[in-house]
């Protein structure tokens, strides 16, 4: 696997508790649309699914269950006119399977929230926003990066300090 494009820093935030993670998701959710991709990195328990759920719930017009995609690989949602794909790539063995799942196409047409994107970094859209969650004491720290930082910089103003 070749190295993915270098990622540029877009800011780092402390998230003292789960509510802070939800609050970040709530601020970010309204800014997202079709063709946007959030790559959610971090160890088990770092809060990836919690964050993704909060984004999805914020956009759903009719609330519904948001189960973890760990078993099903992909969960899709229809939020008004916006299609949302929530995917967990941990169990994928081969980049070709992303195509089989329909993810490659969804990158163009849907809002995609991708957990465990690490092994398939160069298959992710270049304009993806990478959120890296790490444990920090009782809370978490999230670092936001993108290979195409300019469009994000403007959108993230007011969402992420610095």
């Amino acid at each position: 696997m070749s190295d993915p494009s270098p990622l540029f820093d877009l800011g780092t935030m402390r998230l003292p508790d789960a509510d802070a993670t939800s609050a970040l998701a709530l601020r970010l959710a309204p800014l997202l649309g079709p063709g946007d991709c959030l790559c959610l990195m971090g160890d088990l328990g770092a809060g990836k699914t919690h964050f993704a759920r909060a984004v999805i719930q914020a956009r759903l017009t009719e609330p519904e269950d948001v189960p973890s995609p760990t078993f099903t690989l992909v969960q899709t949602y229809q939020a008004g006119g916006l299609e949302i794909w929530h995917s967990d790539l941990y169990r994928l063995s081969d980049a070709q399977e992303m195509d089989e799942l329909g993810l490659t196409e969804a990158f163009e047409t849907a809002l995609c929230l991708i957990e465990w994107p690490d092994r398939f970094a160069d298959e992710m859209p270049e304009a993806a926003l990478w959120l890296h969650f790490t444990m920090a004491g009782e809370g978490r720290v999230v670092t936001l990066r993108s290979a195409r930082p300019d469009p994000w910089q403007a959108r993230l103003a007011g969402v992420v300090p610095g």
Partner: protein, 357 residues
Amino acid sequence: MSDPVTILGIESSCDDTAAAVLRAGGEPALLSSVVSSQTDLHAAFGGVVPEIAARAHAEKLDLMVEQAVAEAGIGLRDLDVIAVTAGPGLIGGVLSGVMCAKGLAMGLGLPLLGVNHLAGHALTPRLTDGVAFPYLMLLVSGGHCQFLRVDGAEDFTRLGGTIDDAPGEAFDKVARLLGLAQPGGPSVERAAKDGDPARFALPRPLLDRPGCDMSFSGLKTAVLRLRDRLVADQGGLHAGDVADICAGFQAAMRDVLAEKSRRALAGQSDLTGFAVAGGVAANQTLRAALQEVATPLPFIAPPMALCTDNAAMIAWAGWEAYRAGHRDGMDLMARPRWPLDTASAPLLGSGRKGAKA
């Protein structure tokens, strides 16, 4: 109900492709049930290797159908009804199954029935134990874990469930954290056998709140922190630590499941039994605790082969729909999302709001 009806069930909504032949109409007889499993491949990964491609399902479907019919000792022409999982699940897989079923129904001139995969699980106690409505069901399947009151083949009321991780997922992830084999259910249980459940205090999430909603994500995080603290303090994990963590985790899981089951049962009258489907019933510690809270009601745990994804349950649910007079047409749609109970508020990912509601 005098004439027996022979139903072919088809299931392809997740990892496995399955087919089964069931004879119903009197005492039900499961003539065959075959699943194309990839168990041997599982161990190599941190999880179960998924059958992703619609193509892969499509390739296996006719083989599975062929095998199920052959093992039943009948021919395709002896079938009376075709039942197929129409959702929820991975759309490619569901679609392959629905197309296969449509082809068979059309070719053989037989009635077609689209079945909800979760209804298949929830109705299994009726196939295996002839349980009468209404009963309470703890249904654990593919990321779901919910208490359902089952009043009819299409009448499900969700009383509560997990708002985040399902128990199976928590077991898998704890196993991953501790370097134990996948799937996590059996390996954590094995490790817990020699462990001291009292050495580490792990949380019992949502136990202090009324109702029967559950949360297991925080329990997973607590195990992670415990592991990291032990590694930092002693430079690694001893086998005894892993055993004690597993025992403590299992005890927390047991306490939560038992107490929430007790509450779900206490809130209902006229139940005929308490049924538990899924890996939870395969764990001896959890099973014993659930069995105890069921008393004096009968405790029903269908055999594991009929709790994991299978087509026998689809054939049975198809039969229940068939005898209720349902028929689906060639316009039957594959539905990636298909909640059993649309009236009750969503739980998963609804966070604190859901837990309080």
